[in-house]
């Protein structure tokens, strides 16, 4: 028969030799292999203490951005929700009142903004769609939760800390990638 590749190997069906029948040499060989693994360095990453380094383009949990003065960028235009292939984003718009200029950058803002992390496929299309630089995918992923409702992230989960009031937390949330911009 013609071989398609030269990688195939015939099954070895020769009767066992006395040496092979004794089992013990084979067992000793196996045990030396397992023992050598015993002393090998373990590839385990102890998760909560150590974390796996993510690539700079990793798409993780979303953050809703603020500008330098700590105002929310999002104007509730809904482009992200339209762009989202998984239909994970819902929002409710509201109009900015007099005296709220220090809270919201635009005249219209999202009163409610929810992302269902169980639906989200972390494609990043919302980030690309946003005209206001308001949504980013960060470098963390959603922690586990006991309930499905726990995965629906509201505005207080998503909003980035205020750069004026909590500059350190803000820097941490911004992460490596956004800082370069």
């Amino acid at each position: 028969m013609q071989m398609l590749t030269n990688r195939s190997k015939a099954v070895d069906r020769h009767p066992m030799t006395v040496w092979e029948k004794m089992y013990l040499p084979a067992i000793a060989k196996g045990m030396s292999i397992t023992l050598s693994h015993f002393f090998k360095k373990k590839p385990t990453i102890n998760y909560p203490e150590e974390t796996r380094p993510f690539s700079p383009v990793f798409r993780g949990l979303h953050i809703l951005n603020r500008d330098e003065e700590g105002r929310e960028n999002c104007t509730a235009c809904g482009l992200c929700a339209v762009a989202c292939p998984a239909e994970a984003i819902t929002m409710e718009a509201a109009e900015r009142k007099e005296g709220e200029e220090h809270l919201y950058r635009e005249e219209k803002y999202a009163a409610k903004y929810e992302i269902n992390m169980l639906r989200c496929i972390f494609c990043g299309l919302c980030e690309e769609a946003c005209p206001k630089d308001a949504i980013y995918l960060s470098e963390t992923f959603a922690p586990s939760n006991y309930k499905r409702e726990g995965f629906i992230y509201g505005k207080n989960d998503l909003l980035i800390p205020d750069p004026k009031k909590e500059p350190e937390l803000y820097q941490k949330a911004v992460g490596e990638r956004a800082r370069k911009k």
């Binding site: 196996g30 397992t34 373990k42």
Partner: protein, 357 residues
């Protein structure tokens, strides 16, 4: 009156000894479960349990707590009395072996010399075999009382496996007994630790090999863990068990493992003998109690090594098929043990009577 006082002290001494040895065995069994998972992890390039306490050292406690908290289920169709008796019997027979093992030479407390052995009966080995073969009842009764065909099948497997391997084990021991001429474990250890005496492994390498293989089979450890073959019998004879009754079965396995490790160390590796040191002269220089502690430690280390070997083999070798197991037991182990016995007998005879030709 004096007679009575001495007896009371004797009873107290033995009671303390029994309590101590039982708690040590339980502790060792507890930490064997931890060690087993650590060894398994390390051999598979993992870390093993490391969350409960430093290095996961509280893991056995957590496991025990979990087992206690689990719901206690007794199947309706089971024989309730036997169902409860099964794990108890398994545990009891596992613990009973420790009675005749010498854990050290002697200690001196309050002017009394205390043997570190619960009972120095002159048929120690026979006693161990008797208790070991009773261990099969734990499995049999548990499997039968569950009224589950898989459990019954597993119990039958366990019983036939234990019986077949006990034969070879007994034969390999007979060769050892011919050498030592005594059934008492204490005498066997003393012969090995006497100055000029070698450990029995030197005289009986083949016997030891047979013994260790049979010990694996007796403890139902891989590669002979057919009674609890998860993929063919669901869970084996303890399938219907839950809560601490299951825990008892699993625990009994680890105690058995510890006991057979101690037995191997005692029979073939000099027992409590400290290697490369003359114990008698050490007693003179360091005092009896100190040496007894060292001896206990030495036995313990030997046993720990064998426990490690048990685990090492478990995570290396896959399970035997049932016919292979029987083939190995009846057609390989027993003839080998017989040959070993024959050779030993000839050598012993020649040694005693000189070359006859």
């Amino acid at each position: 009156m004096i007679q009575l006082a001495i007896d009371l002290a004797f009873v107290l001494e033995k009671a303390i000894l029994i309590g101590g040895i039982i708690s040590v065995s339980l502790l060792v069994a507890m930490y064997s479960t931890w060690a087993e998972r650590k060894v398994a992890g390390f051999m598979q390039d993992r870390l093993g349990p490391n969350r409960a306490g430093p290095f996961g050292l509280f893991q056995p406690l957590a496991d025990g707590l979990k087992l206690f908290m689990k719901e206690e289920i007794i199947p309706n169709a089971s024989n309730k009395f036997l169902f409860i008796l099964g794990p108890g019997l398994a545990m009891m027979t596992a613990m009973m072996t420790s009675a005749v093992i010498p854990w050290g030479k002697q200690i001196e407390i309050f002017g009394r010399t205390v043997d570190l052995q619960i009972a120095d009966i002159n048929i120690g080995i026979l006693y161990i075999f008797a208790v070991l073969s009773m261990g099969v009842y734990g499995i049999m009764i548990g499997g039968w009382a569950s009224n589950n065909k898989f459990s019954l099948l597993a119990a039958l497997r366990g019983a036939s496996q234990m019986i077949s391997y006990e034969l070879a084990m007994g034969l390999s021991i007979i060769a050892l007994l011919m050498l030592t001429g005594s059934l008492s474990l204490k005498t066997i250890v003393e012969l090995q630790s006497a100055s000029g005496g070698w450990w029995n492994i030197v005289y009986q390498p083949l016997g030891f090999l047979i013994f260790i293989v049979c010990a694996f089979a007796e403890c139902n450890r891989t590669p002979f863990d057919l009674p609890e073959a998860e993929n063919e019998l669901n869970f084996g004879y303890h399938q219907e068990y839950s809560s601490m009754k299951l825990g008892f079965y699993l625990f009994a396995e680890y105690i058995n493992m510890f006991m057979s490790s101690v037995l191997m160390a005692t029979l073939y590796f000099g027992g409590y003998d400290i290697p490369f040191v003359n114990d008698a002269s050490l007693i003179e220089s360091m005092g009896m109690n100190m040496v007894a502690v060292l001896q206990g430690l030495s036995l313990f280390l030997k046993a720990a090594f064998f426990i490690f070997v048990f685990m090492w083999v478990r995570w290396t070798i896959p399970r035997f098929r049932y016919d292979q197991l029987m083939h190995l037991g009846w057609k390989v182990m027993i003839p080998l043990a017989l040959i070993n016995m024959l050779i030993t007998a000839i050598v012993v005879l020649i040694k005693e009577n000189g070359w006859p030709f």
